[in-house]
């Protein structure tokens, strides 16, 4: 089959387990975790690609791919059902040489060199499915071209005290990167890598092959590819991004990122028509606020039915809040039912759960004396919580209680 040349192909690393999301990622990969009332995390990089004019996207899956595969489908919701290009799910595969899981981010791309080569691109954009942000990748590709760079890395200024959690770049005023340190104890800069890279494909291709042939390497972009390119004095530049960007890798950050959509001061406008975030929409009627409902400071998706009280909450499609139930400072994922009189506070409740009458999930921090005992409570997907059951703060429930 003949492939039409594409200037730019995006590769989206979506195989991560997201182990720090515990119960929420037992049955689905992290990029498939619901976010913001109707989205899944992967909607953000996918929509960014489409809005940036990138119409060829490889999605690398490995861990629990069922939900993600079904969700992406033929790519129609994102306009990625294309005759040439479009979205392709790329799981690991068996070859004549044997079978191999993706053993690292660089290895995952290495194993798909064949896919990328078919489009003969000038540039490859490497993305991850772990972050909530809106970004025009085409501007970053332009920046890469202007600087005649071999690699461009998107960076964000982070508070100095948080810098040790990130891959940190040191760059000259013209943007040229001269040093890179993965999670440094004593950071020399506060420019954190966002895990978004633009590479000139011919260069990256060579480094991927060299890295693969190096038996001691961990086959990782941050640990191998970037340091190797720096060492060989390839032209590497930092692309500054100053918009909203949130890693949702932990329970607390996922909870916070969801609460951010309720905060008018947070610069993440999901209603902005000029940069739409697309998603696979459930086929459900509009939501119904019942005669006894009290809803404030919240986001409510279609198909919900609300008879109870909802305050500072994000309700996904098809959630039912029965009479007398209270949901505060919480996230309720699709099709979950909160029965009469149940109280949900500072919690994340997964998809398709039933929270029994009078059950109590989570707790308000001001009611806990020992703050180290407090945290967001999590109920995993498909969990039934029996009537009057209690799940304390920080609870991580993945089986019926």
């Amino acid at each position: 089959m003949n492939h039409i040349k594409k200037e730019c192909v995006a590769m989206l690393l979506a195989g991560g387990q997201g182990s720090r999301l515990y119960a929420l990622t037992q049955e689905m990969a992290k990029p498939a975790v619901p976010y913001g009332g109707k989205y899944r995390i992967i909607d953000f990089p996918l929509s960014n690609c489409v809005n940036s004019g990138i119409d060829t996207v490889g999605v690398l899956t490995q861990y629990q791919p069922l939900v993600l595969n079904e969700y992406i489908g033929n790519g129609q919701p994102w306009g990625l059902d294309r005759a040439h290009g479009g979205v392709h799910v790329l799981p690991p595969y068996e070859t004549a040489a044997g079978k191999a899981w993706y053993s690292g981010t660089a290895n995952a791309i290495y194993q798909n060199i064949g896919f990328i080569d078919r489009y003969d691109p000038e540039y490859v954009v490497i993305l991850s499915g772990d972050h909530i942000y809106k970004m025009d990748y085409s501007k970053m590709v332009d920046f890469h071209k202007q600087h005649e760079a071999d690699a461009t890395i998107a960076v964000l200024e982070v508070p100095w005290e948080e810098a040790p959690r990130f891959g940190i770049m040191s760059a000259k005023p013209d943007g040229t990167i001269y040093e890179f340190a993965e999670k440094p104890k004593e950071p020399k800069s506060n420019l954190a890598s966002m895990g978004i890279y633009v590479f000139t494909w011919s260069k990256l291709r060579k480094y991927l092959i060299d890295n693969e042939n190096d038996e001691g390497a961990t086959k990782d972009f941050g640990k191998n590819i970037i340091p190797a390119m720096l060492e060989n004095k390839e032209k590497m530049v930092a692309y500054h991004f100053d918009g909203y960007w949130k890693d949702v890798g932990t329970i607390d950050s996922l909870w916070e990122a969801n609460m951010d959509v309720l905060d008018p001061k947070v610069p993440l406008d999901l209603l902005d028509d000029s940069w739409k975030i697309y998603s696979r929409n459930p086929v459900m009627p509009p939501h119904y606020a019942g005669p006894s409902s009290q809803i404030q400071n919240s986001m409510v998706a279609e198909g919900c039915e609300i008879y109870g009280m909802v305050d500072f909450a994000v309700l996904f499609a098809g959630v039912v809040i029965e009479e007398g139930a209270i949901v505060r400072d919480s996230i309720i994922m699709p099709n979950t039912i909160i029965k009469k009189g149940a109280v949900i506070e500072y919690s994340i409740v997964g998809e398709n759960c039933v929270i029994g009458e009078g059950a109590h999930i989570g707790e308000r921090p001001e009611l806990i004396e020992d703050k180290s005992q407090w945290g967001v409570a999590v109920i995993g997907h498909n969990v039934n919580v029996s009537d009057k059951a209690v799940a304390p703060p920080k609870a991580m429930i993945s089986k019926d209680i």
Binding site: G37, I277, N281, A289, Q296, M299
Partner: protein
């Protein structure tokens, strides 16, 4: 039994517009907004798809831009198909600008499409009835009865004002249609036609050809009434929820019906969903002083005021201190701070400015036209 894959669905997009002049001034009946996120065509179209029909033609006459925009390629109804799928049939080949006078003339314009479909049966539906109908048992009924034409009807108590705007059938115990009354002005329990008809394709093609030769154009008058005793015309009783949208009042009532949970669950069944165009807007957002009771709210709304017993379409904004009661507010309309809108219907893109109060009566809701600022 005929497989539903062998049934062609035809939807008339422009019938009965005279009953709803305010809402059909710039759009076809089929694209009249309904139920916070739908258009009327979604009901017959989704019913057909859920019944297993994979070939549908939408017969249009005029003002069909918004309808085409809504339907697109039909992918939301899973009708973007390699074979069959959704076809929009604009008027063509008529010397009179395509303005047909009745269903027969409209069908004549689509005769080639009907023939090429190769279907065994044709189901025809108008777009003025809100219902979620399974067409499978209707085809079975048609076959079992050996009918030439099957008319679908409902049953209900109506006053003369209502019946003067629709067709009433007389149907005996053997399901034989013995009377067809156009706009009869009678009151009591009657059997209104739901404007859904089934016929074999070859039979329908014969009717179309013959009517064209004789310059007949009305399916109701020239076929159902005048051929009542020549053809085997049967009536199929539909027992589920339905509402004929035949006036602003019934439009208002039917929207309100969707707030009734039993009706809502029946019409928007999980197993037989009503599909509609996807807009990719964020979920509705409730602000700090939001106070919403007994209302149907679509995605993209931003609510900072009070909403009671109302239907808000996608992207409606309700400002701080604003009040909406017993009203229907269509897509992207804005009720500004401290404004009030009571017993009304606001079309798309309406703005009710700060501190203004617009009140209609429960019997005659006030109507505000598309794009108006008050």
């Amino acid at each position: 039994m005929a497989s539903m894959g062998n049934v062609l669905g035809l939807i008339f997009a422009n019938m009965h517009e005279e009953n709803l002049p305010e809402l059909t001034k710039a759009r076809a009946m089929a694209s009249v907004p309904f139920g916070a996120r739908y258009r009327l065509v979604d009901f017959p179209l989704s019913s057909m798809v859920n019944s297993g029909i994979t070939q549908v033609g939408i017969i249009t006459q005029a003002k069909y831009y918004s309808l085409m925009d809504h339907l697109g390629m039909g992918s939301e109804w899973d009708l973007a198909r390699k074979t069959g799928g959704l076809h929009i049939l604009p008027p063509y080949g008529r010397s009179d600008n395509g303005v047909y006078r009745g269903r027969l003339e409209a069908l004549a314009g689509a005769a080639e499409f009907i023939h090429e479909s190769g279907a065994e049966y044709v189901i025809m539906s108008d777009s003025n009835v809100v219902a979620n109908i399974d067409f499978k048992p209707i085809i079975e009924f048609h076959e079992k009865k050996g009918a030439d034409i099957t008319c679908v009807y409902g049953k209900g108590v109506y006053d003369a004002d209502r019946t003067s705007r629709f067709t009433v059938l007389g149907v005996d115990d053997n399901d034989v249609v013995y009377d067809v009354l156009s706009r009869p002005s009678i009151s009591g329990e009657v059997k209104p036609a739901l404007n859904i008809y089934v016929a074999r394709r070859d039979f329908l093609e014969n009717i179309i050809r013959e009517s064209e030769c004789r310059s007949l154009y009305s399916f109701e008058t020239d076929i159902l009434q005048h051929k009542l005793h020549d053809f085997k015309i049967f009536g199929y009783k539909y027992d589920g929820y339905f509402e004929i949208i035949d006036s602003m009042k019934t439009f208002y009532k039917a929207n309100n019906d969707m707030m009734n949970r039993d009706i809502c669950h029946e019409v928007f069944s999980m197993n037989k969903p009503i599909y509609t165009k996807v807009r990719d807007v964020a979920p509705a957002k409730y602000g700090i002083d939001a106070n919403v009771k007994g209302s149907l709210i679509a995605d993209g709304c931003i609510i900072e005021g009070t909403v009671e017993n109302s239907v808000l379409f996608r992207g409606v904004k309700v400002g701080k201190g604003a009040v909406i009661k017993n009203s229907i507010v269509m897509q992207s309309s804005v009720i500004e701070e401290k404004a009030a809108f009571i017993n009304g219907i606001a079309d798309k893109d309406v703005t009710i400015t700060k501190n203004r109060t617009i009140t209609g009566s429960a019997e005659y809701p006030v109507f505000i036209t598309k794009g108006a600022t008050v």
